[in-house]
C-alpha cells in the first residue's frame, strides 16, 4: 500500500476504534447481569483505555497540520445523496484526545465514586453512550450527523443529570437541561434548513466554499442559539448550575470538560460561516456570560455551584476569543480548561464523597457541599488539597500553570487587535480574570485553610482509584501541557509571540487579585454572603478596591436575582404560559368544536320533534294539515 494510503487506512481504523469503543463499553455494561454489577466499572474503564489508545494512534497518524476527510454514502434523499464520514483536522484531533482522556479518568473515578449505587449499570451505559456521541460531534464531517450527535448528547446529559431519580430537584434539573438544549436544537434545525436550502449540502468542507446568498447572518445566529444553549452562554445559562444535582463525576466530564465545550468546538468548526456582525454578537454574549458567571460564582456557597459558574465564565472567555477571531487561542484555552476544571470537580467530588461517608458513620447530617460547613481539610485530605490548589492555580491563570499560558494567548490576541472594541474587551477580560482569582482563592481558603480547629476525626483519604485521576489532572494543569517555556503559549499546539505587555499586565493582575483576596478573607472565620463579604471589607480602603467591589457586589446579587427571577422566571413563565394556553386550547377543543357537533345533533332531534307534533293522533286534524300542506305548496309555487 502506498504510504499515504496506509496512513489513511490507519486514520480510519483509529477513528473507528475511538468511536466504537465507548459505545461498546455502554452496550457491554448494559448486558452484564445485575449480579456482576461491580464488574461493570472495570470493563467500562478498560474500553475507555482502548479509546485513549485509539485517539493517540489517530492523532499521531493524522498529524496536527493537515485535514483528512473520509466519507461513505449514508442514504439518498430526493435525488441528492446524504453522506456520513469523518473530518479530522487539528482541532478535532486535539478534542478527541481531550475527550477520551478525561472520559477515561472520569470512568476510573466513578468506579470508586459510584461504588455502592443501585443502578450503576445504567450510569455506565449512559456515560459510555455520552462519550460515543461526544466523539461523534467532534469527528463528524457533515452538519446533519453533527446535529444528530448534538441531540443525543443532550439526551445522555438528561439521563445522567437525572441519574438519582428519587431526588425531585435532580428530575427537575434534567428536564430543564433537556428543554434548554431542545430550544437550542430548534435554532440548529433552522440553521440546517437554511444551509440546505441555500447550499444544498450539509458537508462542512463543501460549505466552507459555498456562499449562503445573504442568509449568512440568520444562519450564523441560528447556530449561535444552539451553541449558547449547549455551552450555557448568556441567555440560556441557568441550566448548568442546576445540573449540579447530578453525580459529581458526571459534572466533571459533561459540565466541565466535554459537552459544554462542544458548543465552542462547533463555533470553531463553522467559524467560516460567521460574518463580522455575527462575530460581534458572539463576542458581546461571550463577555456578558464571562462577567455574570464570575460574579455569580462569588455569590454562592455550594462548591459545585461555584465551579459551575466558573465554567460558565471560562466558556464565556472562549466564546469571546472566538468572537475576536482568536480560534487557536480559544481552542488552547478549551484544552487547558478541560483538564484543570475536570481536576477541580473530581477534587470537589472527593471531598463530598468522603464527607458523605463520615456523615453516614457519625450520623451528623449537614449539607456536605456548602463551604460554610467545611474548612480545615488541609491536613485531613492532603492529596485532594494539593490537586485542588494545582487546578485552582491553573484556573486563576497563575504563571507556571497552563491556565496562564492559554489566557495570555487570548489576551495577547485581544491587545494586538485594532479598534477600541478590542480594548474594551481586553479590559473586561482582565476584570473576569481578576474575579476568577478572587473566587478561586476564596473557595480554597474556606474549604481547606480557614478555621483549622474544626475536628474532622480521622477522615479516610479517597481510595487510590479516585486519587490517581485527580493526580493526573493536577499534573496536567501545569505549564508543560502547552509549551516547555512556562511563559509562552506557542508550543506543539500553536505558534505566536506573546506581546511583552500582555504577560506583564496578566502578572500584575494576578498579584493584585491575590493580595486583595488574601486581605479580605483573613479576618472572617466563615464565609458570609457575597454582598456581606465584599461590601464591609473595611481594610480595603484604597480607591481601586472600592471602585471595583461595590459594582461587582451589586452586579452579582443582580445576576443572582436576574438569574432566579427573570431568566428562570421567563422560563417558568413560559412553561406556565404554555400550560395555561394548553388548558385554554383543551377547553376550546371540548366545548366549541364538540359543541358544534352536539348542536347539529340537537337541531336534528328538535326538527324531528317538530315534525312529530303533527302526529296528534286526530284524523280530522290530519286531513286539515294535509289540505293546508297542499295550499301552502300551491302558494309557494305560485309566488
Amino acid at each position: 500500500m502506498s504510504p499515504d494510503a496506509d496512513i489513511a487506512y490507519w486514520i480510519v481504523a483509529a477513528s473507528m476504534i475511538v468511536l466504537l469503543a465507548p459505545l461498546a463499553s455502554g452496550i457491554l455494561s448494559a448486558l452484564i447481569p445485575v449480579r456482576y454489577s461491580w464488574l461493570v466499572s472495570l470493563t467500562a474503564s478498560f474500553m475507555l483505555l482502548v479509546a485513549v489508545a485509539g485517539a493517540v494512534v489517530l492523532v499521531s497518524n493524522a498529524g496536527l497540520h493537515d485535514t483528512r476527510h473520509f466519507s461513505t454514502a449514508w442514504f439518498t434523499l430526493g435525488g441528492n445523496e446524504i453522506a456520513a464520514g469523518i473530518l479530522v483536522d487539528k482541532y478535532a484531533a486535539v478534542m478527541v484526545l481531550v475527550v477520551t482522556i478525561v472520559s477515561f479518568l472520569v470512568h476510573l473515578y466513578s468506579a470508586g465514586y459510584m461504588a455502592g449505587d443501585a443502578s450503576i449499570r445504567r450510569y455506565f451505559v449512559m456515560l459510555g453512550f455520552f462519550t460515543f456521541t461526544m466523539l461523534g460531534i467532534v469527528l463528524s464531517d457533515n452538519l446533519l450527523i453533527l446535529f444528530m450527535c448534538w441531540e443525543l448528547v443532550g439526551f445522555s446529559s438528561y439521563m445522567l443529570i437525572g441519574h438519582w431519580m428519587e431526588l425531585p430537584e435532580a428530575a427537575q434539573a434534567s428536564r430543564k437541561a433537556y428543554m434548554m438544549n431542545r430550544i437550542g436544537d430548534l435554532g440548529f434545525i433552522a440553521g440546517l434548513m437554511i444551509v440546505y436550502r441555500k447550499a444544498g449540502t450539509f458537508d462542512i468542507s463543501i460549505l466552507a466554499s459555498h456562499s449562503l446568498q445573504g442568509w449568512e447572518t440568520t444562519a450564523a445566529l441560528c447556530f449561535f442559539l444552539a451553541i449558547a444553549a449547549k455551552s450555557a452562554q448568556f441567555p440560556l445559562l441557568t441550566w448548568l448550575p442546576d445540573a449540579m444535582a447530578g453525580p459529581t463525576p458526571v459534572s466533571a466530564l459533561i459540565h466541565a470538560a466535554t459537552m459544554v465545550a462542544a458548543g465552542v468546538f462547533l463555533l470553531g468548526r463553522i467559524h467560516f460561516m460567521f460574518p463580522p456582525e455575527a462575530l460581534q454578537v458572539v463576542t458581546a454574549a461571550g463577555l456578558l456570560t464571562a462577567l455574570t458567571g464570575a460574579a455569580a460564582a462569588l455569590g454562592h456557597f455550594d462548591i459545585k455551584k461555584i465551579l459551575a459558574y466558573s465554567t460558565v465564565s471560562q466558556l464565556g472567555l472562549m466564546v469571546t476569543a472566538l468572537g475576536m477571531g482568536a480560534k487557536d487561542a480559544a481552542m488552547l484555552h478549551l484544552l487547558t480548561h478541560a483538564f484543570f476544571k475536570a481536576g477541580l470537580f473530581l477534587a470537589a467530588g472527593a471531598i463530598i464523597h468522603t464527607l458523605h461517608q463520615v456523615q453516614v458513620s457519625t450520623g451528623k447530617t449537614y449539607d456536605v457541599q456548602d463551604i460554610r460547613n467545611l474548612g480545615g481539610l488541609r491536613k485531613a485530605m492532603p492529596v485532594t488539597f494539593v490537586v485542588f490548589v494545582l487546578c485552582g492555580a491553573a484556573l486563576s491563570g497563575i504563571p507556571m500553570f497552563s491556565g496562564f499560558q492559554s489566557k495570555e494567548a487570548i489576551l495577547s490576541h485581544m491587545l494586538s487587535g485594532q479598534g477600541e472594541w478590542s480594548l474594551i474587551a481586553a479590559f473586561l477580560f482582565l476584570l473576569t480574570a481578576f474575579l476568577t482569582i478572587v473566587y478561586t482563592f476564596r473557595l480554597i481558603w474556606f474549604v481547606f485553610i480557614a478555621n483549622e480547629g474544626r475536628q474532622w476525626g480521622n477522615i479516610p483519604e479517597v481510595p487510590f482509584v479516585m486519587r490517581f485521576p485527580m493526580i493526573v489532572l493536577g499534573l496536567a494543569s501545569l505549564w508543560w501541557i502547552v509549551s516547555l517555556n512556562p511563559f509562552s503559549f506557542s508550543g506543539w499546539f500553536m505558534t505566536g509571540r506573546a506581546t511583552g505587555s500582555a504577560t506583564m499586565i496578566s502578572i500584575a493582575v494576578v498579584i493584585t487579585a491575590l493580595a486583595t483576596s488574601f486581605l479580605f478573607v483573613r479576618k472572617k472565620p466563615t464565609p458570609t454572603g457575597a454582598p456581606g463579604i465584599l461590601t464591609n471589607t473595611f481594610y480595603l480602603d484604597n480607591v481601586f478596591g472600592a471602585l471595583v467591589t461595590r459594582p461587582v457586589g451589586h452586579l452579582s446579587s443582580l445576576c443572582v436575582r436576574i438569574d432566579r427571577r427573570y431568566i428562570d422566571g421567563i422560563l417558568h413563565g413560559a412553561a406556565y404560559a404554555q400550560v395555561t394556553l394548553a388548558h385554554i386550547v383543551g377547553w376550546i377543543d371540548k366545548t366549541i368544536v364538540d359543541g358544534i357537533v352536539n348542536f347539529v345533533a340537537r337541531l336534528a332531534s328538535w326538527l324531528g320533534a317538530f315534525v312529530r307534533t303533527f302526529q296528534s293522533g286526530n284524523i280530522q286534524m290530519y286531513i286539515f294539515w294535509a289540505g293546508m300542506g297542499l295550499l301552502l305548496l300551491t302558494l309557494y309555487i305560485v309566488t
Binding site: 336534528a604 284524523i619 290530519y622 286531513i623 294535509a626 300551491t634
Partner: protein, 498 residues
Amino acid sequence: MKIEAGLPEKLEWIQHSLGFFGPELILFAGIVVVLCVGIIIPSLRAGSGSSTPLVIGLIASLFACAVSLAGWNQETEGLHLFGGMIVNDRFSSWLKIICDVAGALTFLLSLKDQRKHVSEYVALVLSVLLGAHMLSMSVGMIMIFLSLEMISITSYVLAGYSFKQEGAEGSLKYFLFGTASAAVMLYGLSLLYGITGSSIISSQEFVEGLLAHQSLLLLVAGLLALAGFLFKMAALPMHLWAPDVYQAAPMPVVALFSVVPKLAGLAVLTRFVLAATAYGQSLIDWKAIVGLIAIVTITAGNVAALRQSNAKRMMAYSSIAQSGFLLIGVAALTEQSIQFMMFYAAVYFVANYLVFGYLQYFESKGVLTIPDFAGTGRTDPVAHGFLLAGLISLTGIPPTAGFTAKLLIFTGLYDAYRITDDSFLLWIFVPGLLNTVIALFYYLRIPYFAFLRDGDGVPAKYLTWTNFLGLVLVLTLLGLFFRPDGLMGWINKITFVL
C-alpha cells in the same frame, strides 16, 4: 247503424286485448278460488286459521309474476288496450313483478301466526296486488281512480286485520284520510278532464289540451290530482296517516303497505308527471315541484324517525324517507333516472321485507319497542346479523346493494344536472346525501341496542324459517351489490317515450 257495425270489431279487439292481460286474470282467478275454498273447507268457515289459503295465494302471486317475467322479452312497445285506458309496457310489468314477489313474501311472512279469516285475508291481499297491477298500467282517469280505490278499500280492511283495539282505530284513520284524499284527487282529475277534454292522460289530445291552456287552474288541478298519488306513496303533505296505520296493522300487512301501494302510486305519478311536463314545453316546472316534495319528504322522514322508540313507527318514517328518494328519480326525469329508480325500488323492496321479516320474528318473541332489543344481539347473532344487513342496505352503506342504488339515483340526478343545468337539482343533491348520515343515526338504533347494550337476551335457535328467508334476501342484497349489471341488464330494456 254505425255503432252496430263497430260492435263485432270492438268485441274482437277486446279479445285481443285480453291476451295481454295474463297476470291480472291469474290473480282474479286466485281470488275467486280462495273465496270458494274459504266457503268449502269447514274449519275455515269457523274463521280459525289454516294455511291452505295462504299456499293458494302464494301460488297465484308467483304464477302471475312468472307469466309477466316470461312475457318480458317479447314485450312490444307499450300497446294500449281496452280503449287506451291501459298501457302494457315494460315499465309497468317491472313494477308488477316486484309487487307480485312482495305479495308472495307477505304470504310467506303470514304463514306463521295463526290469523283469523285467513281466506278473506288472502283474497284481500290478492286484490291489493290486482289493484296495484291495474294502477301501474292504467293511463285512463277512470281506471286510475278505480284501481286506486280498489287498493285503498282493501287496505282499509287489511289495516284492521289485527282485530284489536288499535286495529280498529288504524283502519278508521286510514279510511277517513284515504277517502278524503281520493275525493280530492277525483276533483283534480275532473278539472283536468275539463281542461283537456280527454280522460286518457297519456293521449296526444290530453297533452295538447294542457299546452293550449297554460293557466293557474291547470297548476291547481294538477296538484289536487297529485295529492291522491302522494297519499298512496306516503310522501310529505299526505304522509300523516303512515305512522299510525303502520303501528296498528299486523306486520306482514305493514310490509305490504310499505311496498305495493307505494310502487303503484309511483308508477302512476311518473306517468302523470311525464304527461304534465308535456315533452318539456309546459310552463309549470313539474320536475321542480316533485323535486321539492322529494327533498322535504326525505328530510322530514329521516328527522322524525330520530327519537322513535316503536320499531314499526320508525319503519313508517323510514318508508316515508325512502319514497322521497324514489321521487328523486322522478324529479330528474331522464330515461336514465327512471331506470335507476326502478333499480332503487327493487333494492328497497328486498331490504324492507328483510327488516320487516325480522321485526316480526322479534315481535313474536316479545320484543316490541326498540329498547326491548337490549342484549338480544348476543343471544341471537345470526338474526341480528341479517337484520343489520337489511338496515345497512336501507341506509346505503357499501357492502349492500343499498349503496349502489343510492349511488345510481344520485348519478341520475348528477347526470340530469349535466344535461339540463338547472340548479335546483343541486339543491336536491347535497341535502339528499347528508340525510344518509341522519338516516344512519336511527337505522343503527336497533343494532346499537342489540349489540352494545347488555340485557337479558332472547333464547334462539339458528335454523328457523325466518333465518332461511333472511339468508335468501341478504344474499340477493349482496349479490346485487357485487353484480348489479345482472339486474340493470333487465331494467335497461325499460324504454320510455319522453
